[in-house]
């Protein structure tokens, strides 16, 4: 009696131990991949294991990390947020067209953009709950709308931000760059968030929506909070992006949507909801960011970068898919 794919039984022996480990720390695969990449790079080039490298890499990857943080919360809820592409684009456009040169103006507009991000996300959450629409479609439509608005305001890349704003990426404090501090902040945020009632409720609702409803959870509130947070982080990503590019770009957001999902999946977040650790996502985002460096170090054409990304994504998801199946089989 062989197996059907949908019913493959758990693996035994060494495999079973591996499965148990992965179940407890789904981001182990990501960590492993990261270590391998760093190891290869450090053999091929110098200066890889330095603080400076960390600062630089984090600076390039922070936009994705911020976007992926919001996406992780949504994925934990069991949904998906495609609109972050539009929010990021519109965020950069608004920043580049409205930032004055003084801190007050920049500060006020930054807050406004963050508020917009949260509001847009909250609106998504509202539509999803009240109209009972699928997150995929609602956020797809929202992406289109926000990208459209961004394009109407700024048909091509343009606008500008104050010079001092762009220095954030390499400002340092105690040897660590601004982006690294933000990264640490994200990790702290995560460990706080997931212990709060809201964090627990979001995870629970993603784990089993029906059970959550039976337990008295208000789907409207959960969805508004979930997608609102995602929008907020997308807006933050937009603001950070402008410190890197110095311009507004109506189409740039699209480059972050699917990678934000990929980073989370590589990091062990389950697409079904309810399981996962943001640290995994951050590692995943880090991996996606430094693949380009790896390809460069291997002296291979940079065209291989997407191929490598795709393959890593597949490997990571295959591993976590197999272990998820085993875990599910165990639980029956």
């Amino acid at each position: 009696m062989a197996s059907t794919p949908a019913a493959r039984d758990g693996v035994s022996g060494f495999g079973a131990m591996w499965v148990r480990w992965l179940d407890r720390a789904p981001f182990l695969v990501a960590l492993l991949i990261l270590l391998v990449i760093v190891a290869i790079r450090s053999r091929l080039e110098s200066g890889v294991l330095t603080l400076d490298e960390l600062n630089v890499d984090t600076a390039s990857g922070l936009t994705l990390m911020l976007a992926a943080t919001g996406q992780t919360i949504v994925l934990l809820r069991g949904g998906i947020d495609l609109s972050i592409g539009g929010i990021i684009s519109l965020g950069t456009v608004l920043a580049a067209t409205h930032f004055g040169s003084d801190p007050v103006s920049v500060g006020a507009w930054s807050l406004a953009i963050l508020a917009f991000g949260f509001g847009a996300g909250a609106l998504n959450g509202l539509l999803i709950s009240v109209l009972r629409l699928q997150p995929f479609l609602v956020t797809l439509a929202a992406w289109s709308i926000f990208t459209g608005i961004a394009t109407m305001i700024l048909p091509t890349d343009g606008g500008s931000v104050p010079e001092w704003w762009t220095r954030f990426g390499y400002a340092t404090l105690l040897g660590l760059s601004g982006p690294v501090w933000v990264l640490l902040g994200l990790i702290l945020f995560w460990y706080w968030f997931r212990a709060t009632r809201l964090g627990i409720v979001i995870q629970a609702t993603g784990s089993n929506e029906r059970s959550a409803i039976l337990s008295g959870v208000s789907l409207i509130r959960v969805n508004i909070a979930t997608y609102g947070l995602s929008g907020l982080f997308a807006a933050a990503a937009a603001l950070y992006l402008t410190t890197q590019t110095g311009t507004g770009s109506p189409l740039i957001g699209r480059d972050y949507i699917l990678p934000s999902v990929a980073a989370a999946v590589v990091g062990g977040i389950s697409l079904f909801g309810g399981r996962g650790n943001l640290v995994g996502t951050l590692i995943g985002a880090f991996i996606l960011t430094i693949i380009g460096d790896l390809v460069f170090a291997l002296h291979v054409s940079s065209y291989w970068q997407p191929v490598l990304s795709g393959l890593i994504l597949l490997v990571a998801v295959l591993v976590s898919s197999l272990t998820e199946k085993s875990a599910r089989r165990q639980s029956q």
Binding site: M1, T4, R197, I200, S207, L214, S331, Q332
Partner: protein, 499 residues
């Protein structure tokens, strides 16, 4: 004074009357059973008490004070806690995470207080002598019975004045059921009111002080438990004398072996199972839940991987998927455990569901033949007396009993003469249960071979020709004829020394 006093409660859904001037009266310190068939109005009543529905008319009083909850949280605030049959388990949270969900004690910054949570959980477990549970265990690793226990713990953690248990024992095995019945008496002794809904007369008899019977949305009777007989209860529940719940058990088994299994093993939960199922026989499978019964059925049907041999009608068979099992007259069919998740396409019509397994039969060269389909559908609806307005009716609008009939029909259409039935009468009303038992014996008479698992001991005792009791993934004992009794089954399920 009565703790809970309900009068004139009515509720309609569109044209359907769910409750009509229902009444209910219960005291603190008692265990009060609520009986009635599915569709009698019990769940509507419970949902109103729990604040999930609002009545159209009527009055509810708690210790004399008016009670009109706007939502479930309001009900809980007044001390009314309901443990529904449908579990609210959250698989990725731990046992204690589930128990204290949404009411976790918190420390600074709103973070949950892990130490306090653990302390309260252990105190709760201690106080009510809970079966052993690891508070830090993720719920997804637990079986159905344990999840039900967690659900009960979750209810108790809310310190209820009125504790409503809706079919709480349906998922439990014998040992946990004993504990739960004990628990209800203990809670009543603490001065609470326990409202106990169950289809199992034995349990009701064991704990109920008083009982109320609903039928057709109305309250037809309320008795002190000691003053009424089982027969009277059943009569009042279904409104007519039920000749017998269980059909006459004539011996139909022949010598021919329909299904033979040798050394069947699957994972950790099923080890070296061997048995023979004969033509015309109804073979029951018993034992505590989680001892390999599910794995056995899934292995036989090809849903999970297993080692060992199986022979269908004498011929060796290799069943790697349900598709391999459903091969027509010589095949095996399964009526699965989970009606909604494994048995029916809820958004589709009765017709589409009935013919789902015989699509090849109703099509020629890949093209569907509507007339063949319509004919088969009509035949099965008539044969099983499925109550539908038309074959196009969506299955999610059917009652549990009718849904089960559709699944039966789907499997019967495959013409497979070996039937695996996994707890076929769970959550099904008395009337349909009786029909299903009769169907099983009728099919046996026609030469079908039936293997059926039931968590209900009286069912096994009264319907099966033989009973295989499973323990720890093996067959602990096989009982036949006079050997079959609830006692014998339980003993074999629990103790080492079985025959």
């Amino acid at each position: 004074m009565e703790l809970l006093e309900v009068s004139g409660l009515s509720k309609r859904f569109g044209g359907v009357v769910a409750l009509s001037e229902a009444s209910f009266s219960a005291r603190a310190g008692e265990v009060h059973a609520l009986l009635g068939e599915n569709g009698a109005g019990k769940s509507t009543f419970i949902q109103i008490l729990a604040g999930a529905l609002h009545p159209d008319e009527g009055r509810i009083a708690l210790s004399g004070a008016e009670y009109r909850p706007t939502n479930p949280d309001a009900a809980r605030d007044r001390g009314i806690v309901t443990v529904f049959q449908e579990l609210s388990s959250i698989p990725d949270l731990t046992v204690e995470g589930n128990i204290w969900f949404r009411r976790e004690p918190r420390t600074l910054l709103g973070m949950r207080d892990k130490r306090e949570i653990r302390r309260r959980t252990e105190a709760l477990f201690q106080r009510y002598a809970f079966p052993t549970l690891n508070p830090g265990q993720e719920l997804r690793r637990l079986g159905l019975a344990e999840r039900q226990v967690v659900e009960i713990a979750k209810g108790l953690a809310q310190d209820p004045r009125i504790f409503i248990l809706d079919e709480a024992t349906s998922a439990l095995a014998a040992r946990e059921t004993e504990w739960l019945l004990d628990l209800t008496r203990r809670l009543a002794a603490e001065g609470r009111l326990v409202v106990f809904i169950s289809h199992r007369m034995g349990e009701v008899r064991a704990v109920a002080d008083r009982l109320t019977i609903f039928r057709g949305g109305r309250t037809v009777a309320a008795h002190n438990a000691s003053e009424v007989s089982d027969d009277e209860i059943v009569t009042q529940m279904i409104g007519r004398r039920l000749e017998r719940l269980y059909p006459e058990r004539l011996p139909y088994a022949t010598e021919r072996v329909a299904l033979e299994v040798r050394g069947l093993s699957s994972g950790a939960r099923l080890s070296d199972v061997s048995f023979q199922l004969r033509e015309g026989e109804v073979l029951g499978v018993g034992g505590l839940q989680g001892h390999g019964q599910r794995e056995l059925f899934q292995a036989l049907f090809g849903v999970s991987r297993a080692e060992g041999e199986s022979l269908l009608w004498g011929k060796p068979a290799s069943i790697a998927s349900p598709r391999d099992a459903l091969i027509g007259r010589d095949g095996i069919a399964l009526v699965p455990e989970d009606r909604r998740g494994q048995g029916l396409l809820l958004g589709k019509s009765v017709r589409e569901n009935l013919t789902l397994s015989v699509i090849r039969r109703i099509s020629s060269r890949g093209v569907l033949r509507r007339e063949s389909e319509a004919a088969l559908v009509k035949e099965m609806i008539d044969f099983l007396r499925i109550k539908v307005s038309s074959p196009e009716q969506q299955t999610d609008t059917l009652s549990g009993g009718n849904q089960q009939k559709v699944i039966f029909g789907k499997m019967l259409l495959t013409e497979a003469r070996i039937l695996l039935l996994y707890d076929p009468t769970r959550g099904v009303d008395v009337g349909t249960k009786s029909e299903i038992f009769q169907l099983m014996r009728d099919l046996a008479a026609k030469g079908y071979a039936i293997l059926f698992y039931s968590s209900d001991l009286p069912e096994l005792v009264n319907v099966a020709d033989r009973v295989m009791v499973m323990r720890q993934g093996r067959i602990a004992a096989t009982l036949a004829g006079d050997q079959i009794s609830e006692d014998a089954i339980l003993r074999a399920a629990l103790f080492e020394e079985a025959a």
